[in-house]
């Protein structure tokens, strides 16, 4: 029962630290939920993944003291994960590390000094204006976040496009869901999932590929787990992943393939479906066509059969290796095709691939072939990683090629429509898309971008091959503004750091994975002089207008001048976006006013073209007549499903002929291992928030490298040993976790750690999908070796020196 002191120390040797240098854990910790003490509760949405869990913040004497789930929310049914229940510890004055004053330095080797907001906004305006005057409009850029509120992303991109006349508007969702967007547009003709979380309780087969749902979306995983546990014999769970993860615990079948062979696996499942006649003939006849190539050439079913003929389960098993057998592929295909409702779920394992869009297409193919769409439990459902990647960035116009409400920049008609709605001169928005994320930071490296505003994200840590791009951000001729709540690896490189209000310290909307928009209203004050971003952008734009003597910049924020920033200002921005910009579009949110959103426990799913429809919760499932008002509005015939998506004029679902393609970088004799990376349940992204919550930091204080026991034995690596992970780009030294997780020949590293030695994006590769421009974080080649036995380690978080 007991554990000797010696055993204890041995066990924890690699886990413990000599000191806490570099971090500031509040060890006068206010403790777990003081739920019983709260004197008021305020509804909002969780901040720490894309699930959109609804919760209530408990406030006592103006201070955040607890969080709890909202039981009648259709997203989480009252449940929260550890991040969701604890992030109140970052609010208001609860954490000493919060940024509270604007900070500035002219050169990046200088210490920061505190300045006033007037000074800060003047500097930001002068520097952006200087770049525009001297180097042109495309020398400035905005890089935002799937964690920013919709109102924030919308206003930033409006000022950049309409005011500064550049489409250099990007955000970190490019790193996580761009391939899913590409997949939905090319397969279904419209972005974002057809169905909803309600399918979790109606599905009879789950196909989970490239997603550790249990850790990345824990509350959604709970619903899948409950469905499985309540229907052990009738509900099947297939988990396809090169790594055995906590998600695999509920799987009936685990398909462990070598990284980068997923396209062969998916084509082989399609092979079984086609040649063993498991497809839905009438669904295909009514709703599908087959296409191939860059020119989207339409081909016959016979041609598709000819293409897929080569992907026999036997051949795929030889490509996929791992534990894959032809029998397992057949079993998976049968369960998929024959169940009463099959729901596919994926995230970054599919999206962060050189051929991420193709991988998305091949999952959608399986659903189109089998008719596993638009019926209860059937859906091809990409889970989104961030709370507002869908609502703010995908829908709000937060990427270089898209304008608000799913409009493409390059389409003249749509661009001019936006200009009209904004009341600015036609031709003001340039017709050419801006830099996508990797190209944007490449342009920073090359000195083409002279001023960049980074909001609510930390690319210095989260970009692949980040050392390469940190060089550019360090340049003294690149003016870098960062808006955030805590110091990060990116604030380390900034000229100007602006402290912002955190969630529940400001008001705004998040749109989660299932097309659901939810409002969070301010409940506590931000600490010090921290301000909501919408106030910052408005005030900056007014100064820019003066600096550049350009009244159109002022025009972009004119409707919002004088509004108080905590509620009236974001409400006015939301009204403009939802009432003007989304009206008549496929993500019509014109019925979802703040007043409507406040009345519902869990917000509204678009399309929601009227208040009446929005008050019913909106649209649970798209494209189905009687259930989706736009399916009725756009109906061209009597068929029950109407695929009216803007990208497919033929109104058909497209089955794509996509061949197997491996990653950009394959293991070789010099770098013999695959390296993959991912999240752990306790941390969010770069851990600038979760690392400051003692419970979460203690639960996972360091990144580890997971190594398959067979590989560890060959290399003499034992648990806790320090292991060097080297690629052609960089090097980490991390403690080893010897674990039947990754398949043989593959290692897996958690990506949250800010310590330079354990920051894995120094090692990952910045290859990207040619269509979606999403980087291939999930696969590159590396070598590993033991460098020592266990060593004391320090948890590390950036401190900002003034």
């Amino acid at each position: 029962m007991g554990l000797s002191r010696r055993e204890f120390l041995k066990r924890t040797a690699a886990l413990t630290a000599a000191s806490y240098v570099g971090i500031n854990l509040p060890f006068d910790n206010k403790g777990t939920s003081h739920a019983a003490d709260a004197d008021s509760w305020h509804k909002g949405t969780c901040r720490l993944c894309g699930a959109g869990c609804r919760l209530e913040l408990g406030v006592k004497n103006g201070k955040a003291v607890a969080l709890r789930g909202i039981a009648d929310s259709r997203t989480n049914k009252g449940y929260l994960c550890m991040k969701g229940m604890l992030f109140y510890k970052l609010m208001g004055n609860n954490h000493p590390d919060r940024l509270k004053k604007p900070l500035y330095r002219a050169r990046k080797d200088q210490p920061f000094k505190e300045i006033s907001w007037d000074e800060a906004l003047d500097i930001a305006a002068k520097e952006f204006a200087k770049a525009v005057k001297k180097y042109g409009n495309n020398s400035v850029a905005y890089y935002g976040s799937g964690q920013a509120l919709t109102e924030e992303t919308y206003l930033f991109q409006k000022v950049m496009r309409g005011g500064l006349r550049t489409n250099n508007v990007e955000g970190n969702p490019r790193l996580c869901m761009a391939s899913a967007v590409g997949g939905y547009l090319t397969s279904f003709g419209a972005d974002e999932p057809i169905g909803s979380y309600t399918n979790f309780e109606r599905a009879h087969c789950f196909f989970i590929i490239g997603s550790n749902t249990a850790e990345a979306h824990p509350v959604l995983f709970r619903r899948i787990m409950r469905r499985k546990l309540d229907n052990k014999d009738t509900v099947k769970v297939i988990n396809a992943d090169p790594r055995v993860s906590p998600t695999s615990r509920i799987a009936d079948l685990h398909l462990q393939f070598e990284p980068g062979t997923d396209l062969a696996l998916l084509n082989a499942m399609a092979h079984v479906i086609v040649f063993e006649k498991l497809y839905d003939e009438s669904f295909l006849r009514d709703y599908a066509v087959f296409r191939m190539g860059k020119d989207k050439k339409q081909v016959s079913f016979e041609k598709y059969k000819e293409f897929i003929k080569d992907y026999t389960p036997e051949k795929a098993a030889s490509i996929c290796k791992g534990n894959i057998t032809p029998e397992k592929i057949r079993q998976a295909a049968y369960w998929f095709a024959k169940s009463e409702g099959t729901m596919s779920i994926w995230t970054m394992g599919i999206n962060q691939r050189k051929r991420g869009v193709w991988a998305n297409n091949l999952i959608h193919n399986l659903h189109i072939l089998t008719g596993q769409l638009c019926k209860p439990g059937a859906d091809s459902f990409s889970l989104t990683g961030q709370p507002n990647a869908c609502g703010g960035v995908r829908e709000g116009g937060g990427l270089c090629h898209i304008l608000p409400a799913h409009r493409l920049v390059k389409k003249d008609k749509l661009r001019h429509e936006v200009e009209r709605l904004w009341g600015i001169p036609e031709g003001r928005i340039p017709p050419k898309p801006g830099y996508h994320t990797i190209a944007m930071f490449e342009a920073v490296n090359q000195g083409k971008i002279k001023a960049i505003w980074i909001n609510c994200t930390s690319p210095a840590q989260s970009l692949p091959n980040c050392d390469k791009y940190r060089k550019g951000m360090r340049r003294d001729d690149v003016f870098l503004v960062v808006t955030d709540i805590f110091p990060t690896k990116t604030t380390e490189l900034a000229n100007l750091v602006l402290p912002t209000a955190f969630h529940f310290e400001k008001t705004g909307v998040y749109g989660c994975t299932e097309r659901r928009s939810q409002l969070t209203v301010k409940a506590v004050d931000a600490p010090g002089e921290a301000k909501p971003e919408v106030w910052i952008v408005r005030e900056w734009a007014l100064r820019l207008a003066k600096e550049l003597n350009d009244p159109v910049i002022k025009k972009c924020v004119e409707p919002f001048i004088g509004k108080e920033p905590d509620y009236e200002l974001p409400k006015a921005i939301w009204d403009e976006y939802s009432q003007k910009l989304t009206k008549g579009r496929d993500n019509d949110l014109s019925g979802a006013t703040y007043e409507v959103l406040k009345q519902l426990p869990d917000g509204v799913q678009w399309p929601a073209p009227t208040k009446e429809w929005a008050l019913k919760g909106g649209t649970d499932i798209k494209f189905v007549r009687g259930l989706d008002p736009l399916a009725d509005k756009h109906a061209k015939d009597q068929k029950p499903f109407q695929f009216y998506g803007p990208a497919h004029p033929d109104r058909k679902l497209w089955v794509w002929l996509r061949p197997q393609k491996g990653p950009e970088e394959m293991p070789d004799s010099e770098y013999p291992f695959y390296l993959s990376t991912g999240r752990v349940i306790d941390h969010w992204h770069t851990s600038s928030m979760t690392g400051r919550i003692p419970e979460l930091m203690r639960a996972n204080p360091y990144a580890y490298v997971e190594i398959n026991p067979k590989d560890a034995e060959k290399l003499g690596i034992k648990p806790g040993d320090m292991v060097e992970v080297v690629s052609r780009r960089g090097r980490n030294v991390l403690p080893a976790k010897v674990y039947v997780g990754p398949c043989e020949g593959m290692v897996f590293v958690y990506w949250h750690d800010q310590a330079e030695d354990r920051m894995i994006n120094r090692v990952t590769k910045d290859a990207f999908d040619p269509g979606s421009k999403e980087p291939e974080f999930k696969i590159c080649a590396c070598r590993i070796r033991k460098v020592s036995g266990p060593k004391p380690l320090k948890p590390f978080l950036v401190e900002l020196k003034t």
Binding site: T16, T32, D682
Partner: protein, 125 residues
């Protein structure tokens, strides 16, 4: 209820024994005695609960691991708190973080775990 109390008494004694047997060898600084948990220094507190509890309380660990909380990755600290506010028997309000509706409806004279045994979390006893 009696069984429940005995169980926690047993855990407490096990911890006490663990503390006692390690105290002699302990020479680290900054040792903080935490009510309800053996004393650990600040560095040792950077150890996930399960790292030790797999061995210190293997039965409880296994019960948790096989429970819906274990499958869904609901970790020890979510109910028991962390070292500064550690509670061997959690406050019932910690259940309400996720189970607020059930918490409101349950009989006032019964603890949640009198029907949903701790670490097993069956639907009902």
């Amino acid at each position: 209820m009696r069984r429940f109390k005995l169980k926690y008494l047993f855990i407490f004694l096990a911890f006490a024994a663990f503390t006692a047997c390690t105290a002699g060898a302990k020479n680290s600084v900054n040792t903080i005695t935490t009510k309800g948990h053996p004393a650990l220094d600040a560095q040792e507190k950077l150890t996930p609960c399960a790292t030790c509890h797999k061995d210190v309380t293997p039965d409880i660990y296994k019960e948790w691991y096989d429970s819906v909380h274990g499958i869904a990755n609901v970790k020890c600290f979510q109910c028991h708190g962390t070292y500064e506010d550690f509670a061997t028997v959690p406050k019932e309000s910690s259940c309400a973080t996720c189970h607020n509706e059930q918490f409101k409806k349950k009989p006032k004279n019964k603890a949640c775990w009198s029907c949903h045994p701790a670490h097993h979390f069956y639907i009902h006893k």
